[in-house]
């Protein structure tokens, strides 16, 4: 059987393969696919369920229940409690993100080479070549005009009026209908999430998939990783099922995410001073614009416009983001009768955000019940740039014609007019004053040349161990300042290609 979704208690399972890949998101599915294409026997192990487009929920509650990691309850431990957003399903976060494809910028390769001693020209050109292949295979195209919706067009108009760079996004979507459901999974199947292509291909090539199968630990014989063990978990009853054990003849590839990969290796007693360290993120926060005419932000691409104008100077990216009413209402301040009146503005709102290229680092530790404990706080320098990002979003909203903005910043009035942006520019720098989320996560098992400051080398091979590799965002040693999926997949192909060669 190529897909095993659950086993009852006492009905245990033992498998053997060339490679075991833990995690089926952008990193895991891509490396598994690469290995399967190379003729290897692969077992892919995923903690979440395999849901097809007809299984996708539509409501935000259904999305949290069926697709998100631990109901989205992972929050940072630090000065502010900010949610750490990632999926738990076959296909990982590619199922619930906005499918944004951004090629790894050249300055990132230079940074990795200069600061971490990673890479070189072969590495750079190979990763870029793989990303070019991915563009073709996953039908990357610019958001088509008829699907953009008013919010994305307004953002473009705003960027032109401000005189800053702005573009419609390139996305892994073919024949988009602009239904606005990217984040709860595209029921129309137009979004090329990896549960629809790379993973079925792994199975067609003889690979196997275990779903609802969280891995407890990696098994070692001496310093060689020889497999993984875990226990099935029923996605509805939440009861534990039978145990599984997968033996890897060649290697175990860990690709369980920037939070779960370090936790898994900690549970497996891997000794590395860098394990769980150098966790980084792009913290993001948004501002509502209030427009005279209805915008209906939920019609059109969930995210269709972006600006990289401030990526290097300022250190943040600007994006549109359509939020459903469930989420919009939590970001509107207040309670009682006045609050209900505010909710009636929904059709007139745009939500545009900035994602900060933060330099602050945090740690990830295996917490209670194997839940990641993420310690992360933005330092003062980052908070000043975070505030600048908020002010820039505000200016963009007014440049696009908003009559007011709703900053959602504690300590500021509920609504601000065009001549009050300075209140944001001079606003608080305490992270507790902002409602932000961490959606792009990096590090925890970073690559590098020094075993004291990195967990794996540039090929993903864990220092001091045989047969153990990393292939996900946890190996990325810096923030990118752009959406990370294309970089994660390019690196995964690089790791896969090198595994096949070795």
């Amino acid at each position: 059987m190529s897909h095993i979704s659950h086993r009852r208690r006492w009905n245990n399972l033992a498998l053997e393969a060339d490679y075991v890949v833990v995690g089926s998101g952008a990193g895991g599915a891509t490396v598994a696919n690469q290995l399967a294409r190379g003729g290897a026997d692969v077992v892919l192990v995923e903690a979440g369920a395999w849901r097809d487009p007809q299984d996708y929920p539509q409501s935000a509650f259904g999305g949290m229940r069926d697709l998100m990691d631990d109901f989205g309850t992972t929050i940072t431990r630090g000065r502010a409690l900010w949610p750490v957003v990632q999926a738990r399903t076959v296909g990982g976060t590619t199922v619930v993100n906005s499918a944004i494809a951004v090629t790894t910028p050249d300055d990132i390769f230079e940074l990795w080479s200069e600061r971490f001693g990673i890479g070189g020209e072969v590495f750079r050109s190979e990763v870029l070549r793989f990303q070019s292949e991915l563009d073709e295979e996953l039908c990357v195209e610019v958001a088509p005009a008829h699907t953009r919706g008013r919010t994305n067009e307004l953002a473009m108009a705003g960027s032109k009026a401000l005189g800053i760079e702005g573009h419609y996004m390139r996305r892994y979507v073919k024949d988009c209908e602009g239904s606005g459901y990217c984040m709860s999974g595209c029921r129309a199947g137009h979004k090329k999430s990896l549960n629809l292509n790379f993973i079925p291909e792994v199975l067609e090539r003889g690979g196997r998939l275990l779903s609802n199968a969280p891995v407890k630990r990696v098994v070692f014989e001496g310093n060689r990783a020889t497999g993984v063990v875990g226990r099935f978990f029923h996605p509805t009853t939440k009861r534990k099922g039978g145990r599984f054990q997968v033996r890897a003849r060649r290697a175990v590839v860990v690709a369980a995410s920037a939070t779960h990969s370090p936790c898994l290796l900690q549970r497996s007693n891997l000794r590395s001073p860098a394990l769980g360290r150098y966790f980084r993120a792009h913290p993001g926060a948004g501002i509502f614009g209030v427009f005279e005419d209805p915008v209906d932000m939920n019609i059109g691409n969930t995210q269709g416009w972006a600006s990289l104008e401030h990526r290097n100077k300022g250190g943040f990216k600007l994006e549109t983001l359509s939020v459903p009413p469930e989420m919009a209402m939590t970001r509107l301040k207040g309670g009682g009768r006045k609050y209900v009146e505010r909710l009636a503005d929904y059709r007139h709102l745009t939500m545009w955000v900035h994602a900060l290229r933060a330099e602050s680092t945090g740690t990830v530790r295996n917490g209670l019940f194997d839940k990641p404990a993420v310690s992360y706080t933005l330092d003062s320098g980052d908070m000043h740039r975070f505030r600048e990002g908020m002010a820039t979003v505000a200016k963009l909203q007014f440049a696009a014609g908003a009559k007011a903005i709703i900053p959602g910043i504690y300590g500021l009035p509920y609504k601000l007019g065009p001549d009050e942006v300075h209140l944001i520019e001079d606003g608080p720098t305490d992270p507790r004053n902002y409602l932000a989320i961490l959606s792009h996560l990096f590090g925890g098992c970073v690559m590098g040349t020094n075993p004291h400051t990195s967990v794996c080398d540039v090929h993903g091979k864990v220092h001091g161990h045989e047969g153990l590799y990393i292939s996900d965002a946890s190996m990325i040693p810096s923030v990118l300042g752009v959406n990370p999926q294309h970089t994660i997949m390019g690196l995964a192909r690089w790791v896969g290609a090198n595994l096949l060669e070795s």
């Binding site: 309850t73 409690l81 459903p324 469930e326 009682g336 009146e341």
Partner: protein, 129 residues
Amino acid sequence: MKRLVRAALDDLIPSGGPMPGIIDAGWDDFVDQYKREASTQLWLGVVAGAVVYTVTPILTVRRPVLSYQLPPDLRDTHADRVTNHRFYLVRQAVFLLKLSAGFAWGADAGVRSKINLPPYESDPGTWRS
């Protein structure tokens, strides 16, 4: 605890305004599904949020009573001020309460019709086995 949560949410998102209140939006049906399907940790957070909401009128309207003992006008003032309180943990606790209410409110067909959105189809809760 369900009654405590309901009372707090009824204050925070009351009926009678331009949009349906949380009770009109089907909270009573939703809460059982929420308790059953959300994580225990999340439900405990909601209960904690309701408790914080209930005991904090002393911090917002200077009355040493529980929120449901306040007269209607002061209750409305408390509902507004508690979401914007200077103590971070107070406003975060109430934020979690509003987040959970949002799942019911934003998915309600009546609410969605008022904001020009089609009703949701059902969440099948199925997976490939």
